[in-house]
Symmetry: C2
Subunit: 364 residues, 2 copies
């Protein structure tokens, strides 16, 4: 949370942004951010590659942007020097996975928006680590916000729709996405390339669920988000996982090998939340390597009064909307209360305003 | 706009609501409002019938609610006596149609939420009358807000979705509704029961469009809303109307007669807005008497970066959502700035909160 308030007498300075992680997502994020009048990328941090190169050249600019990619070990130093107001953290999926990156940001008083899926609502899936991060960010007077496709296309859209309900009895919906678009770590977590036996193997099987199994699914987190947003008290959230299986031999880019017929291409998870108020929330995610004709979808329906309220997104551009949702939250992050702030506590995403774009053409 | 601020030490008092008009829409609205802990209906005003009867008995309660329906001529008197904070005005469609009802509310310092379709954004369709009403409400320190299905399901949902766009080039969408659900005045305005010749007849034909023809379509108003919400400058909005025709002989409840094959069952309107920024907005409304298999729909798509962002509502409960959207705005009305405030200037609809409902069962 910044302490300076821009006055109406002077134009708002551009938002100073760091990209923490420079893989598929943040490279696409960078292309969007450089087309905005209201944003300046001041730091790009990567653990993996391209360290020392100009980030503009990496994403295809003709001329350098003037910001070199910094290695992760120098993150603290570069944040101190460049003083970004917000870091877009796009690396791994859970609060534990990104803890060290979060610490560096918090300690340098940089607000964070992350697409780490668990951070949509990690209060119940990882309560201790979440409390620790909340305290750390609060102490440093900056905010930590989890966003992405589910925040925008599932949660925020459904919250807007839910505002047109008189009485909700049940919320049911979900999404499907192509795990091949999100890299190896996520594919392995989805059981891609396993046999059914391996999928359910004791100790190691990603298909096992129990009250204590961890990490939880994305829809576990979004169910808990919905309960908080609708003012409900969760009695229990349970999830069931089952493998999706190859009906044809299928090459997976994420694990870089061919999956034989019958082996796992990913998983379906159904998370069911019951509440003290009697409202049921059912979230379903299907994450798998796509066969011909598979495409992303997102659909949510509300039962109650009135009946028949729901919406469907057919073939939404899920990876791109992960970035655009996070960008919408980026502007809220600098105004949000300090600490870990779930987006059910924030206003709906900041609206699109055409005049924020530069006249410059797209880099794509 | 109220000037009192509830303190956290005392529970908020219930919102004092008047129903202005007691036809189909406000009767259903009443059923919902009496199930809320946070609302009290203090006045019901009707020009038509049921004057002197308890409104609870009219909507099917076993016991009287204790509020009698008041005739329109006594509206000012009853508002003075009961001091509602907001009136839900559900009578006719244009700012001119409801002017006298608006005056009575404003002069008694009652905020108004109306489902009169033009009021979604009447600044450009009826600029003089709108300015007059704006000044009147502002002077009396109360707000006037237009809401309904289009506000919620089209505008607010699409605004939430638009927040996930990086660059918008085109917004295209629309809705279909059954004119038989909204009474005779609306059906006649849609050309129900006319021949094609009558539909386009000079002077009187509802299908005629010109830069000065009035009233404009609902999508004319929603296009202008979108332009305002997205920070665009309208160059021009044009609309084209064409009749829908009976493919089978069809009884229309609204005009209480049978429409022969080939005659008009309603109309399709396409409104196209061009903007100085180069963004195009195309809204399409189909309002007609339904034949077998016809059903309501609402769908909006955005073109630009990313591509493929859109949503569809299949068979939404349009009349009920007209009420629930207006109820969501009702709470914003008492906090809104004084004057005529279009909802593009307001936050997204207030969220559903289960605890606002009473334990009492539904009256349906």
């Amino acid at each position: 949370m910044t302490t300076t308030t821009p006055t109406s007498a002077t134009p708002s300075p551009r938002l100073r942004v760091a990209l923490n992680g420079f893989g598929n997502q943040n490279k696409e994020m960078a292309k969007m951010l450089v087309e905005r009048n209201d944003v300046e990328i001041v730091a790009v941090i990567s653990n993996k590659s391209n360290v020392g190169k100009d980030f503009g050249e990496i994403i295809g600019f003709d001329t350098p942007y003037g910001v070199l990619v910094t290695g992760g070990s120098e993150a603290s130093e570069v944040l101190k020097k460049t003083r970004p107001q917000v870091a877009m953290l796009s690396t791994l999926s859970t609060v534990g996975d990104i803890e060290s990156q979060l610490r560096v940001c918090a300690e340098n008083q940089v607000n964070v928006v992350t697409i780490a899926e668990e951070l949509l609502f990690s209060w119940t899936s990882a309560p201790e680590k979440t409390q620790e991060m909340h305290d750390l960010f609060e102490k440093n007077n900056v905010s930590l916000i989890g966003s992405g496709f589910i925040d925008g296309a599932c949660c925020d859209m459904t919250r807007t729709m839910a505002a047109m309900m008189h009485r909700i009895e049940k919320l049911e919906g979900g999404l499907q996405y192509n795990v091949d678009q999100y890299g190896k770590v996520l594919a392995i977590a989805h059981g891609v390339g396993l046999t059914e036996e391996e999928f359910y193997a004791p100790e190691t099987g990603p298909g096992l669920t129990s009250p204590t199994s961890y990490p939880k699914s994305y829809v576990y987190n979004s169910n808990e988000w919905f309960a908080a947003a609708l003012g409900l008290t969760v009695a229990k959230t349970e999830e069931v996982k089952s493998p999706t299986k190859a009906s044809v031999e299928l090459y997976s880019e994420a694990i870089d090998r061919t999956i034989p017929i019958g082996q796992c291409t990913g998983m379906t998870v159904t998370a069911t939340t019951t509440t003290k108020e009697g409202v049921t929330i059912i979230g379903k995610q299907v994450g798998k390597c796509y066969e011909k004709d598979d495409e992303d979808w997102c659909a949510w329906n509300l039962e109650g009064n009135p009946g028949g309220v729901g919406f469907t997104m057919k073939a939404p551009p899920t990876p791109a909307m992960t970035n655009t949702a996070a960008i919408s939250r980026m502007f809220q992050a600098v105004e949000a209360p300090a600490g870990y702030i779930t987006t059910d506590k924030l206003p709906t995403m900041a609206g699109y305003v055409h005049k924020c774009l530069t006249e410059r053409g797209s880099v794509e």
